[in-house]
């Protein structure tokens, strides 16, 4: 049923109503309009949050406890392996959908005025997704994650004058044999997802504020 009626003016001042209005343009109901890549990325984020919370019940960050708790989750805890696998695959899919979403935005020139600010937010979210993926990799606590943490720490320390401090704030004190630290754990489970969630909600709000999505 097509609806043409207008919502009252105050209706759009409500944040939720603004993101989820009662009526949407017919075009956005088509899958091919934008291939739903932004929506799929957000869906992956929700799945990652849900499975991540379940993993937090049994994960213990730390030099030796990180790796052993991952093994326990994967092989001892009922459905633990399944939840970890879904967490892993949702993260891989999210990296792919976010990149394809960016390609779609560039293809349709959707970064142009008045959408420059939302483009910047999107680039920021892309970086957040990559950092979340990296911190997740460090939390495995394997030797490979220790090597990655050591390399990352050395890279951050290349930044003049504040590199050492940033390294401690971002990674803590990882050993070369395990990247799992309490600092990385808190960033991965609380700090980064919270900032990413706020940025995503702002991203959605701005899409409607800037006049909706542009099709292919």
């Amino acid at each position: 049923m097509k609806e043409q009626e207008q919502e009252p003016e105050h209706y759009h001042k409500n944040f939720v109503n603004h993101i989820r209005p009662r009526y949407v343009p017919d075009e956005v109901l088509s899958v091919l309009y934008t291939f739903c890549l932004g929506g799929l990325s957000f869906l992956a984020f929700i799945v990652l949050g849900a499975t991540g919370i379940l993993l937090m019940f049994h994960y213990l960050p730390g030099d030796s406890s990180g790796f052993s708790s991952v093994i326990t989750i994967a092989s001892v805890i009922p459905y633990g392996g399944m939840i970890r696998n879904i967490h892993y695959w949702a993260a891989q899919i999210m990296v792919v959908t976010v990149n394809l979403h960016m390609l779609r935005v560039v293809w349709t020139h959707s970064y142009k005025s008045p959408r420059q600010l939302n483009w910047l937010v999107g680039v920021g979210l892309l970086i957040f997704v990559l950092v979340l993926d990296f911190t997740g990799y460090l939390l495995i606590g394997s030797q490979e994650s220790g090597a990655a943490a050591t390399v990352a720490l050395h890279i951050v320390e290349l930044i003049p004058s504040m590199g050492m401090g940033l390294g401690k704030i971002g990674l803590g004190n990882p050993s070369s044999l395990s990247g799992s630290t309490l600092v990385v754990y808190v960033w991965h489970c609380v700090g980064l997802p919270m900032i990413a969630l706020i940025l995503q909600l702002y991203h959605f709000w701005r899409i409607r504020q800037d006049g909706g999505v542009r099709p292919l």
């Binding site: 049923m1 097509k2 609806e3 043409q4 209005p21 009662r22 009526y23 949407v24 343009p25 017919d26 956005v28 109901l29 899958v31 739903c36 929506g39 799929l40 869906l43 799945v47 030099d63 030796s64 790796f67 991952v70 093994i71 392996g81 399944m82 970890r84 696998n85 879904i86 892993y88 695959w89 891989q92 899919i93 990296v95 960016m102 970064y111 142009k112 005025s113 959408r115 420059q116 483009w119 680039v123 892309l126 970086i127 990559l130 993926d133 990296f134 990799y137 495995i140 394997s142 030797q143 490979e144 994650s145 220790g146 090597a147 990655a148 890279i155 290349l158 930044i159 044999l177 395990s178």
Partner: protein, 121 residues
């Protein structure tokens, strides 16, 4: 502009959610992600980055760290973030060209990484 109730969008989102969960679960059942090497085991001599950070590993292999790990990534991010303004000042062709170059560079490095890891090691 013709509009429909959001209920229609919610139905499509529900179907997409189900499909996404099915694909995710199928991948999770079929392919077990690696856990790597225990830190109690003898030290490994060759640590491979996850595919997402493959381009980074290639840059670090062949360039000095401050160029490969700082300057090149900063230039890529700056090129991406500044795309709307680059197009404003230099024109659409330049903007498209710079974006295509940066994206192709990352894809090229990713393919390079995959070829090295899959065939040589």
């Amino acid at each position: 502009m013709a509009r429909s109730p959001i209920q229609k969008l919610k139905e499509k989102e529900g179907i997409a959610t189900l499909l996404f969960l099915v694909v995710c679960t199928a991948l999770a059942i079929k392919f077990q992600p690696a856990v790597g090497t225990s830190n109690q085991a003898p030290a490994v001599t060759h640590a491979v980055a996850p595919w997402i950070f493959g381009p980074f590993q290639i840059l670090l292999l062949y360039l000095p760290p401050w160029i490969g790990a700082l300057i090149v990534p900063i230039l890529i991010v700056a090129g991406l973030a500044g795309l709307p303004w680059i197009e404003n000042y230099l024109g659409i062709k330049w903007g498209r060209g710079i974006f295509t170059f940066l994206f192709s560079l990352v894809v090229f490095l990713l393919l390079w990484f995959m070829v090295i890891e899959a065939w040589w090691n």
